[in-house]
Amino acid sequence: MSEGARRVLLALALAVLAVAAWRVAGALPMFGSATPYGQAVNALIPDARGVSNMVAAVNFDVRGIDTVGEEAMLVAAIVGAVVLLRGSRGEGTTDRAVRVPGRALEPRADATALVCRIGAVVTLVFGLYMALHGTVTPGGGFQGGAVVASGLLLVYLGDGYPPWRRLVPGPLFGVVEAGGALAFVAAALWPLAHGDAALANRLRPGEWKDLYSGGLMVVSNLAVAAAVAGSFALLLLEVMEETREVQSGEDDAAEEPPQ
C-alpha cells in the first residue's frame, strides 16, 4: 500500500473512532454519579452477606466466578514467567550477586538497614492485617498479598542480595501460591457438590463488621491472599535471580544456538 493510501486510511479510521468515542463518552453516567448497580449492592449486601467492604462482596460473591478466572490468569502468568526464566538458567540458586566490573560498591549505611528492617516488619503486619480484614475494611486478599510481597523487597534493599536469598524461601512461596489457588478453586467447586451454583455462599454470613463476616468470602479472600503473596514473591525471587552470579557451566548450554 502506498504512503498516500495509508494516510487516507488513517484519516478515515480516526474519523470513525472519534465519532464512536464521542457517542460512548456522551452515553456514560456523569463523573462521580451513582450507578444503579452500585446502589443495589450497597442496599442489599449488608443484610444478605453481613459484609461491610462492598468491593470485596462484589469480587468474591456477586461476580465471584470472574475472580476465580482472574486468579487463574495471574497464577498461569507467574508460572509461565518462572518457566521462561528457569528455562535459560536452570533451577540452581546461589547467594552471590553479580557485579558490573568497574562500578564502585558503596556499603549500606546502618541507618538504611535499620529503617528497612523496621519497614519490612511493619509492611508485613500491615499486609496481613489488610488481608485478614478483607471483608470488613478497604483492601482484601489481593492488596494484602501484594503488600506482603512488596515488603520482602525491603529486605533486599536494606541487607543486600545474600541475606535476601537466604531469608526468602522459594519453594515455600511456590507451595503458598499453588495452595491458595487450589483452595480458591475448591471453594468455588464445593457448592456444586451440594447442587448449588459455583461459589454460592452456603456458610453463615456472620455479624456485620465482624472479622469473620462474609461466610464463604472469608475462605476465598484468604485463599486469594495466599495465592497473590506467593505469586508476587516467587516472581520477584525469580526475576532477581537474573542478577545473581552465574555458576560455572550453568549458562553455557543456554548460549548455544537451538538445534
Binding site: M130, G140, Q143, A146, A149, S150, L153, L235, L236, M240
Partner: protein, 81 residues
C-alpha cells in the same frame, strides 16, 4: 468535581507526560514509579482505597523493580562483552 479531584487529575496528566518525555531508561523507571504513586493518590481521592492499595504495591514497588532488574541484567551483559 472538587478542586482536589481536579488538581489530582492535572497532576496525573503531568506525571504521565513526564514518563513519555523521559529518555534515559533509568529515568523512565523512576518516572513510571512516580506515575504509579500519583495514580494511587488519585484513586484515594476518588474514594477507591481498594484500587489505590493495589496500585501502590504493584505500580510503585513491584513493576519498577522488574524494570530495574532488567536494566541491571543488560548492564552486566554489556560489561561482559
Amino acid at each position: 468535581m472538587t478542586p482536589l479531584v481536579a488538581a489530582m487529575l492535572l497532576l496525573t496528566a503531568i506525571a504521565g507526560t513526564l514518563v513519555v518525555l523521559a529518555r534515559e531508561p533509568l529515568g523512565q523507571v523512576f518516572a513510571l514509579a512516580a506515575n504509579g504513586l500519583v495514580l494511587a493518590l488519585l484513586f484515594a481521592v476518588l474514594q477507591a482505597p481498594d484500587v489505590a492499595l493495589s496500585e501502590i504495591a504493584v505500580g510503585a514497588a513491584i513493576l519498577p523493580l522488574l524494570f530495574l532488574v532488567a536494566l541491571a541484567a543488560i548492564a552486566v551483559e554489556r560489561a561482559k562483552k
